[in-house]
């Protein structure tokens, strides 16, 4: 089954998206943020907390308050380690306890400290590289389920309750488990510490919660003979820190999309695009698959009228991902099945859109999101609606399939909601596994016309955005009908210009290794 897509138009889309991404990368290149610096500290091993305040925050806040973040947090902590012959953890603990002032020590000249900072970065880099190899080994040994991989969420708020629910879902056939975050975490400017048992609509993302769930899913995976992927949300004000913690604890997939945060969480665009770049470099290096959030556009904008904004954003996300060193197999570009189910031939439009995305990004797994906007509480209709979504997904060869819940819009999923969703998907996907090899799309038919029309509109939108730049496009509300200002939103205060001698030992090192090519690409 194939659509005829105008190759010239597709190239125009990619060229415009590259131009947009290049401009963003230039902006990012000379800046950093407080969350990027906290991430550097965490990768150096500073992952403890004092009275529930993460030491990474204590140190970065103190440097920022005194206007000394320009060199980067690594310089100051590294300087202390060198001068006092301390490990990063020990130096951080002394700072947190008020026993050490990083600015009061003699200072090694920044360029001269770089080799030492690279040494300090080695254990963190090594642990992430080891995790990447461990994942490859386990996936070879245990295998993955057939594509589309079935993705479900758990969201009890209590990590100890999440574990049995996630294990049950894996036993039922889920390949991917996301522990959805508590509402509001994206707006916290720190990552909470330790195991947590109280959240609303989800569970806090913490390093300890990651570790608990990873261990549980590894055990279940061994038992089932299937590798179970673990997902979390690398978005919001702590985007790169979550990436670091996920890389350290061998998560497999991360929601990771600045545009989502800008549009739907009102996070400042400068802040989150800078954060995103480092987080994506970490994810690239860690072998983690990212998911982008274009699907959300259609929860506010109309899925028929605004489908081209999804396609255009996918092109932009692809180029931003490439710039951060991600390989196509790591790009779970998002889209969704959100057309009003009462529309005549709506299914045809959904198939056209999904198939077009498949062909535009042939090596990306694509993250396909279920209907949510038109789920009503009529669980029986909702179950059917999800069935058509499941059929569309297998018919168009999607990679990451987020299962729709029949109780969407009622409550966070009950255990049986997930069970029924998995049963539905397994039935349909098994029953129609090779249907796409047996069908052809009518040339000049409804689906072909729809795809051509959406692609043309996406090309037009991309050329407009390329002309004015991504920041201005966001200010004008060109995505999801949402307007955001360059100076508005949350987190702008955490953005700063890098000093000439600024150094982030992880960014450089990871980028260099990615440029040489990681072993399983």
């Amino acid at each position: 089954m194939k659509l005829q897509l105008d190759a010239v138009l597709v190239k125009e889309c990619r060229d415009a998206a590259r131009q947009i991404a290049d401009e963003v990368q230039v902006f990012i290149g000379s800046r950093s943020t407080e969350s990027v610096e906290r991430t550097v500290l965490r990768l150096l091993g500073v992952n403890d907390a004092l009275d529930d305040v993460p030491m990474a925050n204590i140190i970065v806040d103190s440097l920022a308050a005194r206007g000394e973040l320009g060199l980067g947090a690594a310089y100051w902590l590294g300087n202390a380690c060198k001068q006092l012959n301390l490990s990063p953890q020990m130096a951080a603990a002394k700072v947190a306890a008020g026993e050490l002032d990083l600015l009061a020590l003699p200072r090694i000249e920044p360029a001269g400290l770089r080799p030492f900072l690279q040494e300090l970065a080695q254990p963190g880099l090594q642990r992430i590289a080891d995790n990447r190899r461990q994942r490859q080994r386990l996936q070879l040994k245990l295998k993955m389920g057939p594509s589309p991989l079935l993705y479900v969420i758990v969201a009890t708020g209590d990590i100890m309750q999440d574990v049995p629910q996630a294990q049950a879902a894996a036993e039922q056939g889920a390949d991917i488990i996301a522990v959805i975050r508590t509402t509001g975490q994206s707006l916290l400017d720190y990552v909470p510490h330790g195991a947590t048992r109280e959240g609303f609509g989800g569970t806090y993302a913490t390093q300890e919660n990651f570790r608990i769930m990873r261990k549980a899913l590894d055990e279940t995976g061994e038992k089932l003979g299937r590798y179970i992927m673990l997902v979390n949300y690398c978005s919001g004000l702590c985007m790169p820190e979550i990436a670091a913690l996920g890389a350290l604890e061998r998560l497999d997939m991360m929601l990771n999309d600045a545009l989502y945060g800008i549009l739907f969480r009102d996070i400042n665009m400068q802040r989150t695009l800078i954060d995103q770049n480092f987080s994506r470099v970490i994810n690239a290096f860690a072998g983690i698959i990212i998911n982008s959030g274009e699907d959300n556009y259609l929860t506010t904008a109309d899925a028929v009228a605004e489908a081209h904004t999804v396609t255009a954003s996918q092109f932009i996300n692809e180029q931003l991902a490439l710039a951060a060193g991600l390989s196509p197999w790591q790009m779970g570009l998002g889209h969704a099945f959100e057309i009003n189910p009462d529309m005549e031939d709506g299914l045809l439009l959904e198939i056209a859109q999904a198939q077009m995305a498949r062909q535009l990004f042939p090596d990306a797994p694509l993250k396909y999101m279920p209907p949510t906007k038109h789920m009503t509480g009529d669980i029986f209709k909702g179950y059917l609606h999800n069935s058509l979504f499941n059929l569309t997904s297998v018919l168009t060869g999607q990679g990451i399939h987020l299962l729709g819940m029949l109780t969407e819009a009622i409550h966070t999923p009950f255990i049986q909601d997930r069970y029924l969703a998995i049963e539905n998907a397994r039935y349909i996907m098994n029953n129609a596994r090779h249907l796409r090899e047996e069908l052809e799309i009518v040339p000049d038919g409804r689906m072909q016309k729809r795809a051509s029309e959406v692609l043309a509109k996406a090309a037009d939108l991309l050329s407009q955005v390329a002309g004015i730049g991504l920041f201005t496009a966001l200010e004008r509300g060109m995505f999801a009908d949402v307007k955001r200002s360059r100076e508005g939103g949350k987190g702008l205060l955490g953005v700063f210009m890098q000093a000439a001698e600024y150094y982030n030992p992880f960014l450089d090192n990871m980028k260099a290794k990615l440029d040489r090519g990681m072993e399983n690409d």
């Binding site: 049995p164 049950a168 509480g377 409550h411």
Partner: protein, 249 residues
């Protein structure tokens, strides 16, 4: 017509009481789990409960579909139903009504409060484009619609309502867990009362878990559930303002 009438659930004969329930038990599927499901159904008031489907959900959980004849009945004469009596107007009628009866634009401030990040409800009512072909309040020439978005703190909402001289406040609660929306909605009423402006605004709650009855119990003027259109909300607000002589000519 139904006054004094006593009814039972209906399957295919009057008073057969037929119902279907489905649920999970924290037991591995097996004869004991099946017996437990039937016993639970009987405790729910289901006679001749029949477990028509049992399936393992893994990790020591099983899923059941049960049919039975529910012996409970409902005496309609004992029910108290609070329904919002709404004289619905269309887009043009509403604008004309505000122009003729209030004589100035209404200020409507809306927010999804607390930790809830789901704007789907408030957007459907407020957005220019609206939902399902119905324009949202932003499109109404006689309404100044302010959508504060999601995760809005109650105190911020009250401050904004003051600043914008709100005639009406719309609060949306979509996804909640362990009924967190109840104290959150109550808190807003308390804040408005403390500020002395509760009686000078039309206060409306909305969301899939909100009924008019619940809204009244929590101290709101009205509650709107799933499927509500912007037109219904606008009709209600404008008529309520006039009825309570708020900001009238």
């Amino acid at each position: 017509m139904t006054e004094g009438k006593i009814i039972k659930a209906y399957g295919d004969a009057l008073d057969d009481g037929a119902v279907q329930v489905s649920f999970t038990l924290p037991l591995a599927a097996g004869p004991q789990a099946k017996a437990a499901a039937a016993s639970l159904a009987e405790s729910m008031g289901l006679d001749q409960a029949e477990v028509v489907h049992m399936a393992s959900q893994g990790a020591g959980f099983s899923f059941f579909v049960v049919y039975g004849h529910c012996h409970h009945q409902v005496d309609l004469s004992t029910l108290q139903v609070t329904e919002l009596e709404l004289e619905e107007m269309d887009f043009y009628e509403i604008n004309d009504y505000i122009r003729d009866n209030v004589g100035r634009k209404l200020n409507v401030v809306a927010a999804c409060t607390g930790t809830d990040a789901h704007t789907v409800g408030i957007d459907a009512i407020m957005n220019m484009k609206g939902y399902n072909g119905e324009y949202g309040l932003e499109r109404y020439p006689w309404i100044n619609a302010y959508n504060l978005g999601s995760q809005v703190d109650n105190t911020f909402l009250v401050a904004e309502a003051r600043r914008l001289q709100a005639d009406a406040i719309l609060v949306s609660q979509v996804v909640t867990q362990r009924d967190v929306h109840i104290p959150n909605l109550t808190r807003l009423v308390e804040l408005l009362e403390a500020e002395g402006i509760r009686n000078s605004v039309v206060l409306v709650a909305g969301g899939p878990r909100i009924s008019h009855q619940l809204a009244l119990e929590l101290g709101y003027d009205a509650g709107f559930g799933a499927g509500t259109t912007p037109r219904q909300v606008a009709s209600y607000i404008s008529r309520e303002m006039v009825a309570r002589k708020l900001g009238s000519l």
